[in-house]
């Protein structure tokens, strides 16, 4: 438009003005875009920086924890996310008092009372609650308060490794020092201590547990309230425990140290029952195709007994830690705690072991004699580990923790959810499996 000589000056001026307006508009647009892009780049830079910081220090070890630290509070200072998750197993609040106990299964299903006649489960049997309640609920159940039970019950309801190690060292004729208790796990001593205590009365072992150091001397305020002495039907039924009758120290439900090495944080097996049970499984010929390290051990020289802490893969350990307690077992006062895995992990294998087993006094093994018929009966406890072993998840390499403690992402950090609960609570309906989602939508199931 500037090629031709302008016909009149008015038009030229307006053309120039238009061109200038166009330039201003263009410049303005570039300005706005550049500002927006700079903001976006800055945002990326800041998130990048934050993620790099996250990745640099997945945790800060502000206090030392060692093999004596059964108290979860110091651990909580170092690993607050996991500690919060663990505390959340209480469902946010801890309800004390007998009125807040979960519903009785015996009232919901009256036939259970008759089925369990002659067995402690006919006295009191309630819905299970989260990990936080395990010691409290055991302390107040009438199965414990009305019937004499064995100390072996605490194998799975309390953080007992220090007590076991201390009693074990003493039984082995060694001097028990704080140094020995805190420096190494010492599985032989733990197993020995467990054996010493498993057939002693429950209340005695619990009292010893209170008196056992928990790594926080001078601090006796438990994270969760402790069961009143004697339960709700015992000495202080339904009332607050008098101030002069407070327990000597703290006892904890299963805490950090029961699954984690305080030095390396790696997961581990700490329970004598599982150590013996998995050893029996490895030495037997039951199906263990879902446990590669057991198969590998079987194929090897078998010079040393199978040790999950040395041989198991990390993925196996993510089920083994749960399998320390979520199993079928015998745990009463006639013999020590036993996992019936010598023949394998199916219900028939367990039945065979129980059928062939005798109590140490030579009499026939049974869980209880039925109160009406006099029949000697077996009662399955809660064989979650064994049932998992039979299923498609075990065969596909999916562990307990994959669904019950799913990974969460916080910035660059990957944290497993320590609020252990049913995956139905965390996965949305129809949500695919968190571990092996690539199997979804394939034409054939395994």
């Amino acid at each position: 438009m500037f090629k031709k000589a302008p016909e009149n000056s008015n038009r030229t001026a307006s053309g120039r003005a238009r061109a200038q307006r166009g330039n201003v508009l263009l410049l303005g647009l570039v300005f706005v875009v550049a500002v927006a892009a700079t903001a976006a780049v800055t945002y990326v830079l800041i998130t990048m920086f934050t993620h790099k910081q996250d990745a640099r220090q997945p945790f800060v070890r502000v206090v030392e924890v060692d093999e004596m630290t059964t108290d979860p509070e110091p651990w909580g200072q170092n690993w607050p996310r996991q500690f919060d998750g663990w505390k959340s197993t209480s469902g946010g609040e801890f309800y004390g008092g007998s009125s807040a106990m979960p519903e009785s299964k015996l009232e919901q299903q009256p036939w259970l009372k008759r089925l369990y006649a002659g067995y402690a489960f006919s006295i009191d049997y309630r819905e299970a609650r989260g990990h936080a309640y395990m010691l409290y609920d055991q302390g107040v159940t009438e199965r414990i308060t009305q019937k004499p039970q064995a100390g072996a019950c605490l194998h799975c309801h309390a953080s007992t490794t220090v007590l076991y190690r201390s009693v074990g060292l003493e039984a082995m004729g060694e001097e028990v020092t704080a140094e020995k208790l805190s420096s190494e796990f010492n599985m032989p001593a733990v197993i020995r201590g467990f054996e010493e205590l498993s057939q002693q009365p429950y209340q005695d072992v619990l009292a010893m547990l209170y008196a056992t150091p928990d790594g926080t001397p001078g601090e006796n305020e438990p994270v969760f309230p402790q069961a009143p002495t004697g339960g709700f039907t015992g000495e202080y039924a339904g009332q607050a425990v008098p101030a002069d009758h407070l327990p000597l120290g703290e006892a904890h439900p299963v805490t950090c140290i029961d699954c984690h090495d305080p030095e390396t944080m790696s997961i581990r097996v700490t329970r004598p029952g599982f150590m013996q049970g998995i050893r029996d499984l490895a030495e037997g010929d039951g199906d263990a195709s879902h446990l590669p390290s057991v198969e590998q051990w079987r194929a090897g020289s078998r010079k040393e007994p199978y040790d999950p802490n040395k041989l198991a893969t990390r993925q196996e350990m993510r089920s083994f830690t749960c399998g320390q307690c979520h199993v079928e077992y015998y745990c009463a006062n006639k013999t020590t705690l036993t996992f019936p895995w010598g023949e394998g992990l199916t219900v028939d294998d367990a039945e065979q072991v129980w059928n062939e087993m005798e109590f140490p006094d030579g009499t026939e093994f049974y869980d209880y004699k039925h109160g009406e018929t006099g029949a000697k009966a077996f009662k399955a406890q809660h064989p979650e580990f064994e049932l998992w072993s039979q299923g498609i998840h075990a065969r596909s390499g999916v562990s307990c923790a994959d669904c019950h403690m799913p990974y969460e992402r916080e910035g660059a950090m990957k944290v497993s959810d320590h609020n252990v609960q049913s995956p139905m609570e965390t996965l949305e309906p129809g949500h695919p499996c968190p571990q092996r989602r690539e199997l979804r939508g394939l034409p054939h199931a395994l």
Binding site: Q20, V41, A55, Y407, P434, L442
Partner: protein, 149 residues
């Protein structure tokens, strides 16, 4: 007008400087290489990198050998596609955990298996193109990333 020009020059300059710095800080150019450590730059892939280091394929195939097509165009399109969406997902934090391979990338890995092992498994493949078949990793799930069991 002059003020606006100066302002634009300033803003573009700042963007250029900041952009270059961010590219360097994020090690952006490493994504153009075949170095497997570049894949773990943004932390999410650290576990996958670690499990690859322990896998049977560590000496014969790096990330790109399985996760990128073996032709030039496909490789760079896949790189650009994943590069953009991975950056977007990690910056906004909007992605599922554990991370999950997309169908398109799944086809890439299957293609990579066949690129090397095609002759061996040829008799196992469906008679017609696109016929129903299992993915190699359905059974061989730990060849690229160990410790899955």
């Amino acid at each position: 007008m002059r003020i606006l020009s100066v302002a634009v020059a300033l803003v573009v300059g700042v963007l250029g400087g900041l952009g270059t710095f961010t590219l360097g800080y994020g090690d952006g150019l490493s994504y153009l290489t075949n170095d497997p450590t570049a894949c773990a730059n943004c932390h999410i892939m650290q576990d996958h990198f670690d499990s690859w280091v322990k896998s049977s394929h560590r000496d014969v195939a790096a990330c790109g050998d399985c996760h990128l097509p073996h032709d030039f165009v496909g490789k760079w399109i896949t790189k650009a596609d994943n590069g953009f969406f991975h950056a977007l997902a990690f910056t906004t934090g909007n992605f599922p955990e554990p991370i999950q391979i997309k169908p398109r990338n799944r086809r890439v890995t299957q293609g990579a298996c066949l690129h090397c092992h095609g002759d061996l498994v040829d008799p196992l493949r469906p008679a017609e193109h696109g016929g129903d078949m299992q993915l190699c990793v359905h059974c061989h799930s730990d060849v690229g990333h160990a410790l899955r069991r």
